[in-house]
């Protein structure tokens, strides 16, 4: 048996701390050993031997002590049995401890916190007032709360809520609601279709309205493509060529697709000499001490000591709990930067210019568009290179533009 197990066992059965006094202490111990009595933690204090032993061995030890003229004394009783005894004597304390755990247990059977999540349209206050109506508030006994009824009531009470759940997590009542998503109604206001980009029209499909461009037309951004108008005859008149003037214009919402070839251009220019900075490792610092926004002291370098540098500013406040001291230390650190030049080969430079050009194009180009043609133009000068990229795509350039409400006087002049 390991020592730890022995200690645990002795704690369970209880043990005594015993002192012996007398000339023949050692003989007493040896005699006891030969009777099979064990000791542990033997110590020596002022001519006394102190040790620990099992309770039931103590009775065997007493006659031996008498024989060797030693005085035995129990210094302490330790272990579970004695603790239990003490507990029996101190009933009040035990009762208090029990009472504490009882109260703790009792307090967990109430709701103390309410959390409502998922509500955006329905105000928190309204949900809370419904809860109050159902007599649910911090301090309500958990068993009195009908969670299913609560979630049903939430759905019935508020039109905006489609689904609700209520659950208890410890002393927290969590109410989760899902609100209806409102789909914006399709507008029917009169509108024209105009070009959102420059291009050459390749295809016109009119669903509603009157086409104002045809295939092959070059359009600029903002040009009218399909006008949102409808012709109707005045009542009681048939359609005769000559009477075309009598046609009435009714504004409608234009619908249709206008496909056009659109060009995108990207240009990248790169210097053959690349200039870049590298920290040299030199650092200079200066310190400012502020008191209520006033500088009261400064140390270190006054001005930036380097021609090229990077500045790092560190503010330091002293805060203790909520109290912020009015003193502030500002550390300015200047990191020296060395300027270096590197000559790029024309190929490298062109590659970089190309990346720039593509970046420029990608900013304008909507993803997923088919590229019909690509054209690339490189130029190499003595100091720099440039790459120009031209892309041709085919896309729908029609975009809705609400009609300005025309006054009667203006329509009359048509």
């Amino acid at each position: 048996m390991s020592i730890i197990l022995k200690r645990l066992a002795s704690y369970w059965t209880g043990y005594l701390v015993v002192t012996i006094e007398g000339e023949q202490k050692e003989r007493l111990l040896n005699l006891a050993l030969s009777k099979g009595i064990s000791f542990w933690d033997l110590g020596f204090e002022q001519g006394q031997a102190v040790f620990k032993m099992k309770v039931r061995d103590y009775m065997k030890l007493r006659p031996l002590a008498r024989r060797t003229n030693c005085r035995l004394k129990i210094k302490d009783k330790a272990g579970r049995p004695f603790l239990v005894n003490r507990g029996k004597k101190r009933k009040g304390f035990l009762l208090g401890a029990l009472f504490f755990f009882f109260i703790l247990y009792l307090s967990t059977s109430f709701v103390w916190f309410i959390r409502i999540t998922g509500n955006e349209e329905v105000p928190q206050e309204k949900v809370m007032s419904l809860l109050r109506e159902l007599e649910i508030r911090p301090g309500t006994w958990k068993k009195k709360i009908d969670l299913d009824y609560l979630s049903d009531r939430l759905v019935l009470e508020f039109e905006e809520i489609t689904w609700a759940s209520a659950s208890l997590q410890g002393t927290l009542l969590e109410v989760n609601v899902v609100e209806k998503i409102k789909i914006p109604e399709a507008s029917n206001a009169p509108a024209d279709l105009v070009a959102k980009k420059d291009g050459v029209v390749t295809n016109v499909l009119v669903l509603a309205g009157e086409a104002r461009v045809e295939e092959g037309d070059t359009v600029r951004r903002g040009d009218l493509l399909i006008e949102g108008v409808n012709y109707t005859l005045p009542e009681g008149k048939g359609l005769i060529e000559d009477e075309a003037d009598d046609l009435q214009l009714v504004p409608i919402r234009a619908r249709g697709v206008v496909e056009a070839r659109v060009w995108y251009e990207g240009l990248g220019e790169v210097n053959l000499w690349e200039i870049f900075t590298v920290p040299t490792g030199q650092v200079a610092s200066s310190y400012l001490l502020k008191y209520n926004e006033d500088v009261v002291g400064s140390w270190g370098v006054r001005q930036p000591p380097y021609r090229n540098y990077q500045l790092k500013k560190i503010n330091h406040h002293w805060v203790w709990r909520n109290i912020r001291l009015p003193v502030e230390l500002i550390t300015l650190k200047y990191y020296e930067l060395g300027v270096k030049k590197k000559k790029l080969s024309p190929e490298e430079a062109l590659q970089k210019a190309g990346e720039e050009a593509w970046e420029m194009i990608n900013k304008q180009l909507a993803p997923g568009l088919p590229v019909l043609r690509k054209h690339q133009e490189d130029r190499i000068f003595s100091e720099k290179v440039s790459r120009k990229i031209l892309l041709e795509t085919k896309e729908n350039i029609a975009v809705l533009k609400p009609k300005e409400m025309l006054t009667d006087a203006e329509t009359g002049g048509f």
Partner: protein, 92 residues
């Protein structure tokens, strides 16, 4: 303390079969860990016990442990465990 003739043949047997001496010759076995712990197995009792010096009757003769703050952590019929700062160990 084992007598001459007896020791001879038992020791011989133990040597021949590579058996532990403490079993065949009934000797004490001492296990010293650093200078802080000493386990004495098969002892015959304490002769003297203070914080500076512990004398133990053993097979054969006597073991004297000298040091500081010596305590006997465990004391059983067969086993004795000393802890403390052990400075000297004498076998006589």
């Amino acid at each position: 303390m084992v007598q001459g003739k007896k020791k001879d043949w038992r020791g011989g047997v133990a040597d021949f079969f590579e058996l532990p001496h403490e079993l065949l010759l009934n000797l004490s076995k001492l296990t010293l860990v650093g200078n802080t712990q000493l386990l004495v197995e098969n002892h015959r009792g304490i002769i003297e016990y203070t914080q500076e010096k512990i004398r133990i009757s053993a097979h054969p003769g006597e073991i004297i442990i000298k040091g500081q703050n010596l305590t006997i952590k465990n004391l059983h019929r067969e086993e004795l465990f000393v802890e403390g700062e052990i400075n000297a160990l004498e076998l006589g």
